[in-house]
């Protein structure tokens, strides 16, 4: 049987048209332990306060829309179970992003960074459809499969202290996504991606705090990807500077 309990849901509110600064508003929400924080937000929206704004869509950790700071930690609202928390839960918009309204953040910076690493297959050679498919062995697939699980939820950007300090930093998810395509046996676009990834604001801004991998809801392990990118970029550097006669 589900146990019903009451929680105090403290939500950050901000309306740029009427508020000079963000404020907190607390709602009393009757809920059952099986609920997630997103259910509690939906209860508020439907029953208590229809003006509350927040993003969500799939309710099953696939779409990556419902990332919030829950009791100060970046979490997906749909994966944060009420039973893991006490009777007071504080929900804020993802850290390090400007607030658009209430829990909705401005994410253009991340979208631009993601696009800058060309997160799509750039085939080594053009192949007519008649030449058949690009074949890949299971071992080749395993090299990058983990990185395909990223849902662009931006929890890693909210967790990364380095992104908070240096907003120009390309960041965990974008670099992991570049790594995902670089590792793909069908891809030939690494040189193009390295122009962005191997710059100062690229992978080299990372100081290996590792918080990105701790908060990742899909176990992508961005910190691991960044370390691999650092090793590969270092080999590139030594090749370019000490062995310039070696053609790529």
């Amino acid at each position: 049987m589900s146990e019903e309990r009451q929680i105090q849901l403290e939500v950050l509110r901000y309306n740029p048209e009427t508020d000079s600064q963000p404020r907190f508003q607390t709602y009393t929400v009757p809920c059952v332990n099986e609920w997630v924080v997103l259910d509690a937000l939906n209860y508020v929206k439907e029953n208590l306060d229809p003006t509350l704004s927040y993003r969500w869509s799939c309710h099953m950790a696939v779409c990556g829309s419902c990332g919030y700071m829950i009791n100060g930690e970046p979490k997906l609202g749909c994966k944060a179970f009420i039973h893991e928390y006490g009777d007071h839960i504080r929900v804020e918009p993802l850290a390090h992003f400007p607030i658009e309204r209430d829990l909705v953040t401005v994410v253009e910076d991340f979208i631009a960074k993601l696009a800058s690493v060309k997160p799509y297959l750039i085939p080594k050679e053009d192949k007519p459809i008649s030449a058949g498919e690009f074949k890949q062995t299971p071992a080749e697939l395993m090299k990058f499969k983990q990185y395909t699980l990223c849902i662009n939820c931006m929890l890693c950007y909210a967790a990364c202290p380095q992104y908070g300090l240096v907003p120009e930093f390309l960041g965990p998810a974008a670099i992991s996504m570049a790594h995902r395509y670089n590792q793909d046996s069908r891809d030939g676009g690494r040189d193009q991606r390295q122009e962005v990834v191997a710059s100062d604001e690229g992978v080299w801004e990372c100081s290996f705090v590792g918080a990105c991998s701790e908060v990742c809801p899909k176990h992508v392990d961005p910190a691991g990807a960044l370390q691999q990118v650092k090793v590969a970029s270092t080999i590139d550097w030594y090749k370019e500077h000490l062995m310039p006669w070696v053609k790529k």
Binding site: E195, S199, D200, T234, W237
Partner: protein, 113 residues
């Protein structure tokens, strides 16, 4: 966007991390043996001196000290940054300066053996 030159330092840092992970525990153990006045024939002054006098021995000692120093320097630089000191360029000059000086002193002393 220009490619970064950080791989110079990061390469030494990564190599140093790997080497020190293996070498430091062994050095701690050997030092502990010495402190407990346990010194098998392999660790006598003459044997270690002969090792350091050989060019291959010199090269190994130099390699270990070089990457360890530069590893420590880069680690300190990042740690200082993590502690909230926002003077990365100055810190980099200081820690890499010390590592550079240590490298130079190592070369001088090894050549004098």
């Amino acid at each position: 966007m220009a490619k970064s030159n950080k791989p110079i330092f990061w390469g030494l840092f990564a190599a140093g991390g790997t080497v020190t992970a293996f070498v430091t525990p062994a050095l701690v153990l050997i030092t502990l043996f010495a402190a407990m006045r346990f010194s098998p024939d392999l660790f006598t002054y003459e044997v270690l001196h002969a090792f350091a006098a050989n060019w291959l021995g010199k090269l190994i000692i130099f390699g270990v000290i070089l990457v360890s120093l530069w590893h420590a320097a880069h680690r300190l630089r990042v740690t200082v940054h993590d502690f909230g000191v926002r003077a990365d360029t100055l810190v980099a000059y200081v820690v890499y300066g010390i590592a550079g000086l240590g490298t130079f002193v190592t070369i001088v002393y090894l050549l004098r053996i």
